[in-house]
Every structure is written in C-alpha cells, then in structure tokens.
Symmetry: C2
Subunit: 206 residues, 2 copies
C-alpha cells in the first residue's frame, strides 16, 4: 500500500500490529478516526495509554484491578471461601457474564505446557497454594480449557494440595447445550458417558 502521508502510514502500521487486524482493516480504522474530532481521538488514545499504565493486577487473585485488590475479591457479598481457578482474565469475564458464580477467582496466567516452555514456576500456582492454606478455602473449582495442558495443570495442582481439607472439583465436560451427539468428538462423548448424571439432578439444574 502506498501512502502519501507518513503520519497516516505510521498509524496504519500500528493498528496492523494488533491481532486479527490486517493492513486493509487498519486503514479503515485509521480513516474512521481521521473523520472524528481531534478531541475524540485524543480521548481514545488517552484511554488506551491510561489503561496500560494504570491497570493493576489483584494481589490476591491476579485478576485485573483498578487498585491493589480487584472488585470481586473486595466484594463481601461474594463467597470468599470458594475459588475458581482459570487460565486468563478472559475466562473470568466469560464466567462473570453467566452471572451464575458467586465465589472468587484465581488467575493462573496460563497452563503447564512443557512444549511452550511453561512450567509451574511461571504460573500463579505457589500463590494459590499459599492462599488456600491461609484462607482455609473450602472449595477449589477448576475451570480450565479441556485439553492435555489443562488436565496436566489440574493434576499438578491437585497433587500439590494433597493433605489440605479443601474440596476440589472441575467444571462439567460433556456435550455442549445445542450441540449434536453425531458431531461430538469421541473423547468428549466417552467422557460424557463416564460422567453421566442422575436425571433428577439434571432436571433440577435447568
């Protein structure tokens, strides 16, 4: 692409660095901003810079926070003795959007993946163990993605916590609501058979 302005070209190149944004989309975004008032664009750029420089991570659960402790940990209405272990901040947002969980979180920052060079030490696992001991957590719910890395991480943490009187569970895996048996992969189908539910509990949970 040929630009007659270096300012425009730089802005397009910056946008094109974002994931899923190609040069053409970047150009569309930049031309959109060019049509806005200078004040609005300055506001946009300030909000972005401020977000990056001022955002903090909760010292307790490693979720994003505006202060030292995130709004979920600081909320006394939530069950602080239940911890849901997730991989990333995005998972927290996904679970919060269901409005079905009233406990707290612990963001691992990834999962154990030797192929990617990620071991337990790079994740927030030590702090999780300390937190459980200190707070005498009653239940730990794993909400990790159902793959080898997720399962390895669950296995590792569960081993590490042996001896603590904390109930450890994982979110149900099975056929997704609206999914079709025919198209489910064998592993999901096999697991959903193994972990079958009594119909009463299924009907009651609807």
């Amino acid at each position: 692409m040929q630009f007659s302005s270096a300012l425009l070209e730089n802005a397009v190149n910056e946008f094109a660095k974002l994931p899923g944004i190609g040069k053409k989309t970047a150009l569309r975004l930049v031309l959109h901003l060019l049509k806005q008032d200078t004040g609005e664009v300055t506001h946009f750029s300030d909000i972005i810079a401020k977000m990056r420089s001022e955002i903090k991570f909760c010292q307790r659960c490693f979720n994003v926070a505006d202060g030292d402790i995130c709004s979920i940990c600081a909320n006394s209405m939530r069950k602080q003795e239940i911890i849901c272990v997730v991989e990333t901040i995005r998972d927290v947002i996904a679970i919060e959007s269901t409005q079905q969980f009233n406990g707290t979180y612990h963001v691992l920052g990834g999962v154990i993946s030797p192929l990617d060079g990620i071991g337990p030490d790079q994740l927030n696992i030590e702090s999780l163990a300390n937190r459980i001991k200190k707070e005498q957590t009653q239940e730990l719910i794993f909400a990790l993605n159902p793959n080898i890395q997720g399962d390895t991480t669950i296995y590792y943490i569960q081993k590490k916590l042996q001896g603590l009187s904390c109930r450890i569970t994982t979110i149900a895996r099975g056929i997704a609501f609206g999914g079709e048996l025919e198209y489910a992969d064998e592993m999901t189908l096999a697991r959903s058979l193994q972990n079958r539910l009594p119909v009463e509990s299924y009907v009651n949970s609807r």
Copy 2:
C-alpha cells in the same frame, strides 16, 4: 460483559466504537495491548493521537498530507496537468497501489447524494473547477464508484466545466478481470457491450 476493572471496561468500549469491531474483538485487542510493554502501548497511543492532530489535507488536491501540499502534488516527476477525480482518500491509496497512474488527484470528499443531504456545495467541486482553470489542466479522469451518485457527480462536474478545453474521461467500466459473464449484472454487461473495445487496443494494453 462484566469487567472487574473500569480502566479495562473503558478501553474495551473505546475500541468497540471503531467500525467492524464488536465487544468481543475489542476485548481481544485490549488484552493484547495489556500483554505489551507500557512503552509500546504509549507509543501506539501517541502515534494515533499525533496522526489525528498533525495530519493536514493538501490545499491543492485535498489528499492527506504531512504539510500544506501532499507528496503527490509536490512530486515534479508526476504529470501535474492530469487530474484523477476520486471520492475519498482510500481511492487514492487504491489507485496508487496499482502503480499505473502518474498524474495527480483531486479528492471530492464524497459524491452528490441528495438522499444523504450531500449537494455539490459540500464537496470540493468549486476548488476543482478553479484548479482546472488556473492550472490549464489537460485531462480530467473520473475514478468514481459506478453507481447513480457517482454518475450524477460526473454529469454535474462535466456540465460545470463546459467551455474549458480539458479532456474529460472516466475509468473503464465492464466485466472485472477474473469475473464471469454469467454472474455479471445486466447493467454492467449492457455497458460493457456499448463500450466495447477494438481487440488490438485490448491486446496491446495487456
């Protein structure tokens, strides 16, 4: 979507204002920026703000420019006596990318569209007429989108320029290269029959 940080939420909302970016994509972009160094994100935001506040529009052709005159108008290697009339800056970039045009541009800033309340006065038409008179332009090439609004604009400008010894042309309309006759709309097919080319000139232009 539920966010535990107002800083994050504001940033997502700002990104979601951009065209074609929904909340989920906005979140992905913001979480990507959150993973970058503060310096890089500040650089990103500075480039955007600088682009909007410092970019200028060429006083001659209304293309984007870093100074008073754009790099195309300032380039003495280009044929200043040929003007290609386009709707937006994006069209300039598209034509420049072909590397086949060595003249200058004139960006109208839109096309005449009474339904959208856009009349000739809102467009850079008066300045085009003045420019042609002053510079004794030899050829005016219309490169507008082939629709009613584009055709109306061509008709209006051509009427306005009557009496000037400037050659007025428009880019060829017809079946796109790689297109199939079968799927072409009737108007395009009819026009491409009317404006058929001698085979020699077609073969030579390849």
